[in-house]
Symmetry: D2
Amino acid sequence: MQDIGVGLIGTGYMGKCHALAWNAVKPVFGDVPTIRLAHLAETDDELARTRADEFGFERASGDWRALIADPAVDVVSITTPNRFHAEMAIAALQAGKHVWCEKPMAPKPEDAEAMLAAVRASGKVAILGYNYIQNPAIRHIRALLDEGALGTVNHLRLEMDEDFMADPDMPFMYRHEASSGWGALDDFGVHTLSLVSTLLGPVARVMCDMAKPYETRITADDGRRAVEVHDIATVLVRLEGGASGVIALNRSAWGRKGRLAIQIFGSKGSIVYDQERMNEFQLYSTADRASEQGFRTVLTAPHHAPYDRFVPAPGHGLGFNDLKIIECRQLIGRMRGEPAAAIGFEEGIGIERTVDAMARSFREGRWVDV
Amino acid sequence: MQDIGVGLIGTGYMGKCHALAWNAVKPVFGDVPTIRLAHLAETDDELARTRADEFGFERASGDWRALIADPAVDVVSITTPNRFHAEMAIAALQAGKHVWCEKPMAPKPEDAEAMLAAVRASGKVAILGYNYIQNPAIRHIRALLDEGALGTVNHLRLEMDEDFMADPDMPFMYRHEASSGWGALDDFGVHTLSLVSTLLGPVARVMCDMAKPYETRITADDGRRAVEVHDIATVLVRLEGGASGVIALNRSAWGRKGRLAIQIFGSKGSIVYDQERMNEFQLYSTADRASEQGFRTVLTAPHHAPYDRFVPAPGHGLGFNDLKIIECRQLIGRMRGEPAAAIGFEEGIGIERTVDAMARSFREGRWVDV
Amino acid sequence: MQDIGVGLIGTGYMGKCHALAWNAVKPVFGDVPTIRLAHLAETDDELARTRADEFGFERASGDWRALIADPAVDVVSITTPNRFHAEMAIAALQAGKHVWCEKPMAPKPEDAEAMLAAVRASGKVAILGYNYIQNPAIRHIRALLDEGALGTVNHLRLEMDEDFMADPDMPFMYRHEASSGWGALDDFGVHTLSLVSTLLGPVARVMCDMAKPYETRITADDGRRAVEVHDIATVLVRLEGGASGVIALNRSAWGRKGRLAIQIFGSKGSIVYDQERMNEFQLYSTADRASEQGFRTVLTAPHHAPYDRFVPAPGHGLGFNDLKIIECRQLIGRMRGEPAAAIGFEEGIGIERTVDAMARSFREGRWVDV
Amino acid sequence: MQDIGVGLIGTGYMGKCHALAWNAVKPVFGDVPTIRLAHLAETDDELARTRADEFGFERASGDWRALIADPAVDVVSITTPNRFHAEMAIAALQAGKHVWCEKPMAPKPEDAEAMLAAVRASGKVAILGYNYIQNPAIRHIRALLDEGALGTVNHLRLEMDEDFMADPDMPFMYRHEASSGWGALDDFGVHTLSLVSTLLGPVARVMCDMAKPYETRITADDGRRAVEVHDIATVLVRLEGGASGVIALNRSAWGRKGRLAIQIFGSKGSIVYDQERMNEFQLYSTADRASEQGFRTVLTAPHHAPYDRFVPAPGHGLGFNDLKIIECRQLIGRMRGEPAAAIGFEEGIGIERTVDAMARSFREGRWVDV
């Protein structure tokens, strides 16, 4: 395979994360082509130039269309606000580029469908930025489930909680408007669904409740405005495989910073994981002698690929940004036609349809089939 | 107040727990009348005699009616299977005895109502064995909520999980029959509701799902019989006070032995607790300096009444049986007309009505008002 | 065996703990004779009468010698300050009573030796109040070590930390005088040595450092007085069995309330325990598959005798006072000539000799053989 | 400042870690010059070429002297086995390069002294690879200590434990020979001393014990050979500031993978940290209200610089390799004459002298002044 020419649109939280991943993927993994950081686009030329310098990109543009037109670019990282995803991804695919787009696909279902149509028409690769599934701990949990370490899974609980919306004195902002989405449901729900999908398969039925911790928020003119989104969502779920469960989401959970807690119960054991301690998972196995059964805290280690590509010593710990490097390696694998654990547009649209079913369930106060 | 003459019916798991509490309540608390262990009843004379000797009771009967007729008995501990509660409690109250009855009140709502009517008619005290609310940690959490340490509570999650039904090879038994109740819902649900009620007040609306981890179980004749109860129940709830939440119950959760996990989120902080580590709770407060905010692990200590009656040193730990001693002290307080933190039949019937609403919600697949 | 007549001298922290144990031992264990609470002694008649009433004792005396002379007393619980232990224990043994004496034996080595001589001359049973070794978790750890679960033990670390001396503004008191002992070394050291002795056998050599967190403390007249004891002690140890290790003790460790942390390392695994979470221990075993090795958190359960005598359900938790009930059962067993896990005067004097060796090591700044 | 031309010698565990840091330091921090990956040296041309390609270096040599002679190189990363450090570092400094050398400096004290002399003569910057001190959690602990959050520190405990030498069936290898050093003492001791030095200042006196978990190991010819190093070392310490403490090191501690546990006790509170959970620390403060005092688990966050350069969201987690990126940023700062938290040769030699004092203490069985 030839060198890979990379284009990056957007340099915020996730844009920087992509930039770090593109810089590191070859030193970490070795077995990939040379990565050329070809072109970076931002909202204006100056910012683009500054970030291109920092992140090591050759060219810089204040217009993302210039990037997509650039023949030096083979793959485009799209890290702009969600409402731009569809237009950019479709343009990139039509220009013959591969696409690495941050999640979720698009606020409007029809846009997501158009993105899927575009990738199918293009013959190119398009994956979404579901980084949590790339954790070696999560991958190993998947392997344990596959080998039957828990027997038949019959119940699961997922919680995703942060506290960036917890302060009642935070002023009203665009993320409190209905146009920005449902709130916790799309913001966090898609992450939890990426994990359910990866570990246990598709969701069949949902029953959703949503709540607002604060009905109004202060505005710039010292008035108060009604909050239009729900920072809390709790969803009863039934999986196609038969297991029951619950997904609980809260963006106003004081003290939770990056909690993404998973509990999986099966006929032979249980597994527990929390992203706030992302370098460990807990396994309870009934294969252990009865008088010493207990949840084992397993620290991720070279046993759990591709941890070994980062550190040869066990228990030394990966970080949040490392997950993006692994995701980047999956993208490259898929570009080379190899099997790769990543969520493409096809699977991604399934996640977003599930979120839509949850929202409908809430509106209608009843169980909804996905 | 005169001596207290105690009658104990039943000497299984909870019967022994009551016996230990009656033996210990005066040495622990000091400020109570002399406790006379007057009469113990079991299913036959010989077992009654043996247990009376072990537990220190003066008289023993194979007929519980003899115990209730005994003028030396002032208060009756009822620790028999749930289906006997109503008959015994009503008889005891009609005989002018106080009643300490294990939870839940009765499998049939009409029986529970009859128990309530009996206590109202008697003018006596009747409380239920909701021991978890007696933990000094729980009481202190209540005090923190009362003083506004969390601001306005807007969300809660409760989980109660054990694994005594987790083994798929466990044979079919009476607890798998529909006549024994709903399964996790009444077995565990009432405990979680006692905590919700104590900490946050009544539940207004519920939406319940129930599930069976194993559809059938093996029978004595090597056949298989359909399991009629649900070992898993998950319930979306709305409290009268406005908070949203979820209650998740699982009797087949491998590795969970006595988990009763509480998460309470408010506008100023959060509290987390787990009965498996019953001597600590976690507090997150936004009053702490931002750069050192975090969940504090507070070990129960003499600060948290009545811990000091057990041990004068902090962090030395109470046990499960100690909670029953505190409950016993509450009963005596109520018998003396003092305010006491305990769940009487009136509040208890509210808990059971809530469980019934959950069951109806599951059957009808919709939200139900309590 | 006939009834057991109990005498209790002292009703402070440990006196109450003994009283609770004597009240509970028969209801908990069943298989013991009837316990008669015969006689209680305190420093004056009135206090003795009050406590006897609370704790359920028949007679009360302001003079402990009356208790020892009482023929109704078969066994004497001695829970007075350490400096009284020798006189009382010797008198009790000479009067033909069994003795249950709180630890340590005596501040002066010659007194401890006299206590040992007395018990040998008496033919009676005398045990010391080393309660932490009675935890079912500790007993199970011992069983695991005996069966070779860790292979050959080669290293250990023990820490015992509380914070009752941590406040620099606490006034000078008798426990800061040299006459009260060494400080952390005798106060905490003996507890850790009871565990080393129980789990791993005798200590062969020691190298001790001691330190004062506060050189002086305020006095009642607003002056300051030099502290004569050491609230911190750290001791390098070598066991007779060959393992190396360290024992670290701190009575001024802010935040530690009842920490008694044990780490044991062997050729096949490791065990970790902390008394602040006394209902669990951690086991790491190389017999587990490599990719899932980790410390298992094992909750104590009916598998771990005699937990089942307290609660039939796993993971429901014992408390600090329950350990004394188990110790009491051991005492009764030894009185009946049964094997019993308890520390008698012979083993106890070994512990105190080890503490003396530690103190000498500190004074002389060198390794000392025990 | 001009571009920085980087040379890297060695591409093993730490060599790759340096390469990742050099690739990432500008994208992460932004405020540094352009980094040119100029020259990579390995033991032969082919390996050098392969690694240069993976890590993004322009030139590759099988001879490290060619790298040092290369005028395009401004700073040399030295990540070879310890015995080569002195020769390479001195050559690089004499050639006018800055030096980033992995710890420890050199097995022989005279070599370390020569390295120090070389850096002094050169006027260049030379720092050592003590990465653990770069953790934002550790830096914040340092800030808390500086502002007096713990009052006066009076006691500390450090433990560093891994299990790569724990298997008794591991064959004899060069690291078991005396020529490779003391064992745990130099391998782990230097890391713990870098933390003591950073957080609390220099060590004044030491009393060391060392032990061998396994006296012999199997050899290739099925014989057994005596192990010459000590995989366990435990050291009593006194700091110049007056605090007492202990440093415990174990390379054969089954189950410990990257444990580096710190406990610091002061007159107003305590701090606890463990590298296995490197994204959190525990703070106990007596400034909290008494009834809610407890150890707070603080997750690292943008409050704790330079966490924010990696992730803008709190509690999302850094990894082991990220610490090296921070260290690299410190090196660049120091090259620019800015204050920078890093351990240079001067401070590094103090660490190694302390290790030597520990070794002498063990040989002589007595306290040794550093």
